[in-house]
């Protein structure tokens, strides 16, 4: 029997085996599918959150606020100072009046809050638009320190603090995907192992005959390995299908809202999807290998079964 014949035979036997024990097989498929699905959900959220953080970061600015008593010359000087940094794409001075007009435009109902002040209640500021990819944390920290030292500058406001916190959340989600998904996947491997062990146990009479008439271990185990791999693959495909369905449902439900963009603006890329299915297949194969154990050195005992029933 050549390899192609053997593989075809393994597949045929595995499919027959799956069909015969479809209830237990379904259990195995579902545990694998569920663990991969859960990992997939965590991945989906972390990827969406991650890309949102990236987007926010690219849009985010640094605001340098001036002292209330600063004048137009101070503003121009600070803006120049900032713009001289190589990584600053633009530094736009915002006059106190402009700030006030913008506030009123944005919050008309609160316009009277700005009435009756001696000075402009909103300080002048410089909106810094960094070339984010060109900045690293140290450069930025050094720069903000320098700016704060300028007597006309009252404070520097950097969105990056909370963006960094969001980033921590994304990383944690990714870790969770790995840990929870990994733990569940291990459970799934053991489930598959018991399902295959059961199948092998039900066939032990036939396995004994196969051994005694001269079947190799490869030939005997092949169908079971194929069965585990098929179960794992089906679980992986099921997980991908469930992920796609959930994704579409979430998009329908939450659309462009915050929650929608948090979990459902971007689906897992094809590589990840293939990886999920491959992970399922590998888990199934691992379960089968685990269940059949190692070959006993003493084939006389091996002839009687796979050790598990001895």
């Amino acid at each position: 029997m050549n390899l192609a014949q053997a593989l075809a035979y393994f597949l045929r036997e595995a499919v027959v085996g799956l069909a015969r024990g479809w209830k237990t097989s379904l259990l195995a498929v579902m545990t694998i599918g569920f663990s991969l699905f859960l990992s997939g959900i965590f991945l989906l959220v972390s990827i969406n959150l991650g890309s949102m953080v990236d987007a926010w970061r690219n849009e985010s600015r640094i605001m340098v606020y001036l002292e209330a008593d600063s004048d137009a010359a101070d503003l121009a000087r600070v803006a120049d100072l900032i713009e001289s940094m190589p990584w600053v794409r633009a530094a736009r001075p915002v006059q106190a009046e402009e700030a006030r007009e913008r506030f009123i435009a944005a919050y008309p109902s609160m316009a009277d809050l700005l009435e009756g002040w001696d000075q402009d209640p909103l300080p002048a500021s410089v909106a810094v638009e960094p070339d984010w990819p060109a900045v690293n944390a140290t450069t930025l920290a050094n720069a903000t320190t320098t700016w704060r030292e300028d007597p006309a500058v009252s404070s520097v406001d950097d969105d990056r603090d909370w963006l960094a916190q969001l980033e921590v959340v994304t990383t944690m989600l990714r870790g969770l995907a790995t840990v929870v998904g990994g733990a569940l996947l291990i459970t799934a491997v053991f489930t598959i192992a018991s399902v295959i062990r059961l199948a092998a146990h039900q066939h032990r009479d036939e396995i004994t005959v196969l051994r005694l008439v001269g079947a190799t271990e490869f030939y005997i185990r092949g169908p079971f390995y194929a069965e585990g791999t098929i179960q794992g693959t089906l679980g992986g495909l099921g997980a991908v299908g469930a992920l796609a369905a959930s994704f579409i449902a979430l998009q329908r439900r939450f659309g462009d809202g915050l929650l929608g963009s948090l979990v459902a603006s971007q689906f897992l890329n094809p590589t990840l999807l293939v990886a999920l299915v491959a992970l399922g297949a590998a888990a199934g194969l691992a379960g089968a290998i685990l269940s059949l154990g190692r070959e006993k050195a003493d084939s006389a005992r091996a002839a009687a079964g796979w050790g598990s029933e001895e």
């Binding site: 029997m1 009479d205 079947a215």
Partner: protein
């Protein structure tokens, strides 16, 4: 060629399977293996196809030392040995065809050839019409013949038959015997374990007698009957060999030794 050198087998529970057996069976010989129940006949056969390994001594099959045979090579040894198991080992879920076609399938024969081979082999044991039956729907004797067909299917170099006539009526066992003799004539070494002294006396050839694991006797009886396929249980033209009644041996199945004439009612089963 099967050679045993001081072979002993002690089972984990302490039972003696074989005890210091040395002998040699040349290629193509017809050998009967007899002895009381529990004397080690099955153990002897199991060691040759390496279902059991000796606790002491060496077994060589066609020059290969079984103890030194790596696990990976065992399947290839077994493919050259046909075994009729005492307990048949037929798979109830599988048809007769599937039961006897394990080896052809392992060898990668295409299904048409498997089918033809199965059919031809079943015809030799008179069961061609039951090719699609399941073992549970067969009589004891039919199951036995399926087990024989499975052992014969790939023309083994060595045929080990453990009580192959145990469940058969005299007429059928005679037919099976003819079949095995015919297989032997084609060059296969045949070792047949049986309680049936009458059968042995009638057929002759080499007879090994085991007693509590020991080789108590190894003798050559003049061939009694020669295989005659078509004649069924009828004739015994091979001469009038007159095996003397063998007092030394008890027999728990056959009603005592008989002289070598066919169709006596000396029941097996």
């Amino acid at each position: 060629m099967i050679e045993l050198y001081h072979v002993s087998k002690r089972y984990p529970g302490g039972q003696i399977g074989l005890s210091d057996v040395s002998l040699s069976i040349p290629r193509g010989q017809m050998v009967f293996l007899t002895g009381a129940s529990g004397s080690g006949k099955s153990t002897f056969l199991k060691m040759i196809y390496r279902e059991e390994v000796p606790t002491e001594g060496q077994i060589l099959v066609n020059g290969r030392n079984l103890a030194a045979l790596p696990a990976k090579k065992i399947p290839y040894l077994r493919r050259t040995i046909g075994v009729v198991f005492q307990e048949f080992r037929l798979i109830a879920r599988k048809t007769v065809f599937e039961n006897i076609s394990y080896l052809p399938r392992i060898l990668g024969m295409d299904s048409a050839r498997q089918r033809k081979l199965a059919y031809d082999t079943l015809r030799r044991v008179g069961l061609a019409h039951r090719i699609n039956a399941f073992p549970l729907s067969l009589s004891g004797g039919e199951r036995q013949r399926v087990a024989i067909a499975r052992a014969l299917i790939n023309e083994p170099e060595i045929l080990l038959a453990d009580e192959p006539t145990g469940n058969l009526d005299p007429e059928l066992s005679e037919e099976i015997l003819h079949l095995l003799l015919e297989v032997n004539l084609r060059g296969t070494t045949v070792i047949l374990a049986t309680h049936d002294r009458a059968l042995i006396d009638r057929v002759g050839h080499r007879v090994l007698t085991l007693d509590q694991g020991k080789l108590a006797e190894d003798r050559e009886l003049p061939p009694g009957i020669v295989p005659n396929m078509r004649a069924g249980a009828a004739s015994a033209p091979g001469g009038d060999a007159a095996p003397e009644p063998d007092a030394a041996l008890e027999s728990d199945a056959a009603p005592g030794p008989t002289t070598a004439l066919p169709a006596e009612a000396g029941g097996t089963s």
